[in-house]
């Protein structure tokens, strides 16, 4: 039992030649779930961010009877695509065990809109992600290392693509641990993240924006602002099972994703 961060991917596929207003998004392609994972008394969970990618200025809405209201709930609309900080980084919305969210997205004509929800759990069964604070990483950091991973998002929109972190280069040093500070990408994606043994095989994602500001240090900043450990730490020896996960609102987006890693002394 332990910490976990999970990213839930939803999409709305608009096959019509007209734009659609807010429509219930599905997790059919991603295989994720909009049900909050069950946790025991004393634990807690929060929704920390939503990353939205559409073909134009799109709306996203999150609904649940357990949110502020179940009418407009949390509604966002931005021309920024992919969106980066629809949630202020200091903020998390409390989630309730076993509650089920409804996520709605608008979509332009003949296009897809996708969104990724970043969930933080203080303690759930079966998962204990290896997460650190910036203070812990800073104290043990030897080198900064950027690792390029050439990725191509799925041809089926709304589906995650996992690409092993050694696909493009394999320079991580055996027996060391590495902390993931953030990312950069050469092409816009909805989300990019890490998935592997250290994360309980859940995806821990950042917005897939091409801007470097705050994306290259996304997990550092999020942890500092939330005052909880958010920096994934993995063993180099697990590299063969550690993946970079991406998703986009168009099919087969090719990008070079760079993982910003801190090599740790212990």
């Amino acid at each position: 039992m332990g910490l976990a961060i999970d990213t839930v991917l939803v999409d709305v596929h608009n096959a019509t030649t007209n734009a659609v207003t807010l429509t219930n998004a599905t997790v059919t392609n991603s295989g994720d779930s909009l049900s909050i994972r069950s946790f025991d008394t004393g634990a807690w969970a929060k929704l920390e961010s939503i990353f939205l990618q559409g073909s134009s200025t799109e709306q996203a809405r999150i609904l649940s009877p357990r949110l502020h209201d179940n009418v407009t709930g949390l509604t966002f609309e931005t021309p920024e695509t992919p969106s980066e900080f629809l949630f202020p980084q200091e903020v998390g919305e409390p989630m309730y065990s076993s509650d089920t969210l409804t996520v709605q997205l608008s979509a332009a004509a003949s296009s897809d809109s996708v969104a990724a929800l970043l969930m933080y759990y203080s303690n759930i069964d079966g998962v204990s992600a290896n997460l650190a604070t910036w203070a812990q990483v800073k104290a043990a950091m030897i080198h900064l290392k950027t690792v390029e991973v050439a990725v191509t998002s799925s041809p089926t929109i709304g589906t995650w693509t996992d690409t092993v972190i050694t696909t493009t280069e394999n320079q991580l040093k055996a027996d060391y641990t590495y902390a993931l500070l953030g990312f950069e990408t050469t092409a816009p994606l909805c989300a990019m993240g890490i998935k592997g043994p250290a994360t309980g095989n859940l995806r821990i994602c950042a917005p897939g924006a091409t801007s470097t500001l705050d994306i290259t240090r996304y997990f550092v900043e999020l942890g500092n602002h939330q005052n909880t450990p958010h920096i994934p730490v993995f063993k180099a020896n697990d590299r063969g099972a550690t993946n970079i996960s991406v998703a986009a609102n168009t099919a087969s987006v090719s990008a070079h994703v760079y993982a910003y890693l801190a090599q740790l002394s212990s």
């Binding site: 049900s35 807690w44 009877p65 357990r66 179940n70 509650d99 089920t100 909880t228």
Partner: protein
């Protein structure tokens, strides 16, 4: 909610749940529904239901404690064409352990299911 909030309380005592049942219930609305749907999931104390039929077709709403129509039946509410139902569930309400799944036999209904969620954070307002 930055930092580490006080954890959620889910398994409250029966006495505490009885006290919760006396709290004002929250609305859980449903709009223009003509097919079965999941209204919410989790443990709630149901306090009442209010809805009207708008398509001119009589039918029956069956509320199940579950995530599909195999869930235990919490209530059965027949309604007339363009009619309505307003029903309170007594002083202590009715417990939904899994959630509220709403089966609609015919027609289109709009209304709300009044319920008190029984798992809370220290910051959760009473009845919310």
């Amino acid at each position: 909610m930055a930092g580490e909030p006080v954890g959620q309380d889910r398994k409250m005592s029966w006495g505490a749940q009885a006290a919760f049942a006396s709290l004002p219930a929250s609305p859980n609305q449903f709009l223009g529904k003509s097919a079965a749907f999941q209204l919410f999931t989790g443990r709630y104390i149901l306090a009442g239901i209010s809805f009207s039929e708008t398509a001119g077709t009589a039918g029956v709403l069956t509320v199940h404690d579950g995530q599909d129509a195999t869930g235990e039946i919490l209530g059965v509410f027949p309604y007339a064409a363009n009619g309505g139902v307003n029903q309170l569930f007594g002083v202590v309400g009715a417990m939904s352990e899994i959630g509220a799944y709403m089966s609609i036999s015919a027609g289109t209904i709009t209304g709300t299911l009044l319920a008190v969620p029984t798992w809370t954070y220290d910051i959760t307002a009473p009845g919310q």
